[in-house]
């Protein structure tokens, strides 16, 4: 797996065992897109919420709205933030599609994209706001 190193002010830190959870979720859903929410605090991921992609599609995702409502409530009650939103690209690069950019309604969260199109999986993170895409550094921590 390749995790790109990018310099910049924005950064997300994810413990390796949580990144593994995300990657295995993407594998399980393959060839459809997997999606989920990473809850955390101050840019550090603390919990993975694997969500249901109600579109069951290899080119599209939509998180089940009731599940999203419930998870967002739990995150709020735990005093955490939606640090990141992730989804997989079974056949495309790890870069936001036009649809990803158009439907990025959470600019304070980082969008993580996992590409499964190459033999080596690729994980990248982006800040998306009003059509502007900026790559964000992902730091994988050991604990």
């Amino acid at each position: 797996m390749r995790v790109r190193k990018v310099r910049g002010k924005h950064k997300i830190i994810i413990p390796s065992h949580l990144l593994d959870e995300v990657l295995s979720h993407c594998d399980v859903e393959y060839p459809d897109e997997a999606c989920g929410i990473l809850a955390g605090k101050e840019g550090v991921v603390l919990k993975v919420y694997k969500m249901k992609n109600i579109e069951n599609s290899p080119i599209s995702y939509l998180i089940d709205s009731k599940e999203q409502f419930t998870v967002m409530k739990e995150i709020r009650e735990r005093g955490l933030d939606i640090t990141a939103i992730y989804h997989s690209h079974p056949d495309l690069d790890a870069y936001p599609s036009a649809k990803d950019i158009q439907l990025a309604f959470y600019p304070e969260s980082v969008y993580i994209i996992i590409s499964l199109s190459e033999r080596e999986r690729e994980v990248k993170a982006f800040h998306i706001e009003e059509g502007n895409v900026k790559e964000v550094e992902i730091k994988v921590s050991l604990k």
Binding site: M51, S60, I63, F69, S97, A104, F105, Y106, E108
Partner: protein, 90 residues
Amino acid sequence: MSVKVRIPTPLQKLTQGQDVVECKPGMIIELIHELDNRFPGIGERISEGGKIRRFVNIYLNEEDIRFIKAEETEVKEGDEVSIIPAIAGG
């Protein structure tokens, strides 16, 4: 002023950072008008031509208003309304 409305983080810049706003009871569409009067610009982020936008979900307490009476859902004193943009892409 007694309905609690949860504003999603992306719209909080329009509500001066407030995550919860108190509104008057009434229909959902009236509540959106009230919000837009108080926080100009928020209305068009939630609805278009009197209809809730496709990628915006609104919950009355624990229930999606699309399964009640959509924009015409009545909100009573003590209720909680949550405005939640969808998470979607391709």
